[in-house]
């Protein structure tokens, strides 16, 4: 699939803040780079690039603020995950009156809630400035809308872009990759990519996949690609010791009878190798309940390679199912004992993924068509179009007020960071938790 030619929306100089420092999260490295690509296309020589990175000290941030304020930019775009814009905005506001401030456009990331104290302050400081907030998914948009009272069109949807020039589908590459990775047998290859973490429920995904495939008397090869981490679920006070999740999964792996299939770990892969496993696999799975799951770059890349996918109906994943008949969502429910999925819902999603994959096996052009369909919504081209039409409207939005529950969250996060509170939420049944993350569920009352 060919991306469209470069575009240009206006002739005023605009600024974009990129970061030369390596982002901590792998997905954020891709997201930042792809968004920068989009902005370069949109503004070409009118784009003034600034390096706003974590290594800058206060003097350097001050210097950057001076530089930005002297350029008389029409708009400043914040596209990177970190550093948080607050420090820079504080300094810009010292130099410029609100009426002189450039339009401020923020692409927010999944940890908007974690940075609630910073966002609360930033949004308070910028009241009276022209602001636009781009959310990467519809669920995230609802989440942010529930926190803020704004003038119309302040909060808008703009997905993160997938490089579909790279992540697409090629039948010959699939054959090569399967040969190279020794996946030519009859086992169904179900792939998980991303951090192997409690937050992502990988262990449960393996257990449930084997339960389904064993019951259907089908052999399964579950492939994981990514690094293990021990981040656990700190919002609920659940912490992991070093190596804990690895041991949990290793124990599970050892218990799976050879007759049912196997689990393999492909390591943390470079982009080229990652594309190969997406091609070699028959299906993708991620049952993540990560609170920062505003988009889901791993499922997006998998879907961009035409894979059918079992996905938790959670946060940003839900947006993949919109016009896509290959993202099979499993509703997330919550009761007194915490989050859960229904085994029946999981079985339906597995069966659908398996069925689609078998159809692909008979006619690979189906997978190619699915990859193209997905790219039409999430490629760099598609996101360029989304932003272009969004920018046709003047940026006149304003944040008028911040909700009481967002302020409460900000306060709790502040205490949590100072270790004055061991957890942010007592349990998922807590009213505040449901109020904050309700928009990420499909099953909470009034959220459908």
């Amino acid at each position: 699939m060919k991306e469209q030619n470069n575009k240009k929306v206006n002739s005023d100089a605009v600024g974009v803040l990129t970061s030369s420092a390596v982002a901590e999260w792998v997905s954020c490295r891709t997201i930042g780079a792809n968004l920068f690509h989009v902005y370069k296309r949109l503004f070409q020589e009118n784009l003034v690039v600034f390096d706003y990175n974590r290594a800058l000290d206060f003097d350097e941030i001050e210097q950057l603020a001076i530089e930005i304020s002297q350029k008389h930019l029409k708009t400043v775009y914040f596209i990177e995950h970190l550093p948080h814009p607050l420090e820079l905005i504080r300094r810009l506001l010292k130099r410029l009156k609100k009426s002189e401030m450039p339009e401020l456009v923020f692409h927010i990331y999944g940890d908007f809630t974690y940075y609630a104290p910073e966002w609360e302050e930033l949004l308070r400081l910028t009241q009276g400035c022209r602001v636009r907030i781009y959310c990467a998914s519809h669920r995230q948009m609802r989440l942010v809308q529930s926190f803020l009272r704004t003038s119309p069109n302040t909060i808008q949807y703009c997905p993160f872009a997938v490089n579909s020039e790279f992540y697409n589908f090629s039948e010959s590459l699939r054959h090569q990759a399967r040969r190279k990775l020794n996946l030519e047998g009859g086992d169904f290859v179900l792939l998980y990519t991303g951090r192997i973490s409690l937050q992502k429920n990988v262990k449960m995904a393996i257990e449930e996949a084997f339960r389904f495939f064993a019951k259907a008397r089908r052999r399964l090869h579950f492939v994981m690609a990514g690094d293990f981490d021990n981040l656990a679920a700190p919002f609920f006070g659940i912490h992991h010791e070093e190596g804990q999740y690895f041991q949990e999964i290793e124990n599970l792996r050892m218990q799976i009878p050879v007759s049912q299939g196997r689990v393999t770990w492909a390591g943390s892969l470079e982009a080229e190798e990652l594309r190969n496993v997406y091609h070699a696999a028959d299906g993708f799975i991620s049952l993540s309940l990560h609170h920062d799951e505003d988009f889901g770059m791993s499922p997006a890349e998998a879907l961009s390679c035409g894979l059918p996918a079992v996905l938790s109906d959670w946060g940003g994943y839900t947006s993949f199912a919109g016009k896509n008949d290959r993202a099979f969502l499993v509703p997330v429910k919550v009761d007194n004992d915490g989050h859960f999925f229904s085994q029946r819902d999981l079985a339906v999603a597995f069966e659908n993924t398996y069925r689609v994959s078998r159809l692909d096996g008979e006619q690979m052009s189906l997978r190619n068509a699915a990859a193209e369909k997905f790219s039409a919504q999430f490629s760099i081209d598609a996101v360029t179009n989304v932003l272009e039409s969004s920018m046709a409207e003047p940026i006149e939005g304003q944040v008028l007020d911040v909700s009481a529950h967002f302020k409460t969250l900000a306060k709790r996060i502040g205490l949590f960071r100072l270790r004055k509170q061991p957890k942010v939420f007592k349990s998922p049944r807590e009213a505040l938790y449901k109020k904050i993350y309700g928009p990420y569920f499909s099953t909470l009352k009034g959220r459908k």
Partner: protein, 297 residues
């Protein structure tokens, strides 16, 4: 049927204190040694022998991995002269085998931590150890720096040093270890940077990083930081597997090679008193007091 997510299944699996609750002084001591004494999870349950009050407590597992260095081990063997009523085996670091009294030998195995992958051409080296004479001596630095000699210097881009100073010593020579390291490193004309492990942990490319531990085994023989770095793909200059050893993975990148029946003929157990005296000479009184508190004596 409800399928519980990993989040709330795992609550029961959170590790708890295995043995006696630590006193305030012990907790303070542990804080001084942070992050080295932090807990990690492995199939061979790591523990500190110095926290055992009754040997029967150990019978809840067949095999244990002792994370203690030589001093706590000596205190332990002194306190429990014979392995009475003990059914399990304790693995101790192989270079500490010689401190094991004869009566204990049938209950002792050996272990060493090894990388299963190694970067053929490391781009960085992470040198770490407590910058305190009692824990990282000039001599131990020089010994450990021999590991650096085994690394191909030509491709190296950076050397990181993590050498925290803590309240273990009052001697003026406290900073000698760091000085020695920096002097050695300057000779290699490499760029050495003193860092905090927590700052570089999230973003450094550990898969191309070689670890050099300059810490003596005085207090800790198996430290958390090493596991944390190896879990992220860093590698040790380590020996190859031996036929007599078994192996368990601690992470995809490293694990523990252990021998339940080490050869005792090659090592002669020294008398406890001699050994303790030998180590005492390199440890100042203030530190020794801490060790006593640590060992709960």
């Amino acid at each position: 049927m409800k399928v519980r997510t990993d989040w709330f299944q795992i609550l029961d699996h959170n590790p708890k204190n295995l043995f006696a609750t630590l006193s305030g002084a012990q907790q303070h001591f542990r804080a001084q040694l942070d992050p080295f004494l932090r807990d990690y999870i492995s199939p061979l349950q790591g523990f500190f022998v110095s926290s055992v009050r009754d040997l029967k407590e150990l019978n809840q597992r067949q095999v244990w991995l002792a994370r203690d260095g030589i001093l706590p081990l000596l205190f332990f063997f002194n306190q429990f002269k014979r392995p009475k009523n003990l059914k399990s085996k304790i693995l101790i670091r192989e270079d500490l085998l010689e401190c094991v009294p004869e009566a204990w030998q049938p209950h002792i195995g050996s272990y060493r931590i090894v990388s299963v992958t190694s970067s053929p051409q490391p781009k960085s080296v992470f040198v770490y150890g407590m910058n305190t004479e009692s824990l990282v001596s000039v001599k131990s630095c020089e010994v450990a720096m021999k590991d650096l000699d085994k690394i191909e210097i030509s491709g190296l881009e950076k050397i990181y040093l993590y050498l925290p100073s803590r309240r273990f010593s009052v001697k003026e020579s406290e900073h000698e270890a760091a000085k020695v390291l920096l002097t050695v490193l300057k000779k290699t004309s490499l760029q050495a940077e003193i860092v905090d492990w927590a700052e570089v942990l999230p973003t450094h490319d550990w898969k191309t990083c070689q670890i050099v531990n300059v810490q003596k085994n005085t207090v800790v023989a198996d430290d958390w930081l090493l596991h944390t770095l190896l879990t992220r793909g860093a590698s040790l200059v380590s020996e190859k597997m031996r036929n007599s050893e078994e192996f368990v993975y601690f992470s995809p990148f490293h694990g523990c090679a252990f021998n339940l029946k080490p050869s005792w003929k090659k090592t002669r157990p020294k008398e406890y008193d001699n050994y303790l005296r030998e180590h005492m000479s390199s440890v100042e009184m203030s530190s020794f007091e801490w060790f006593q508190i640590f060992a709960g004596k």
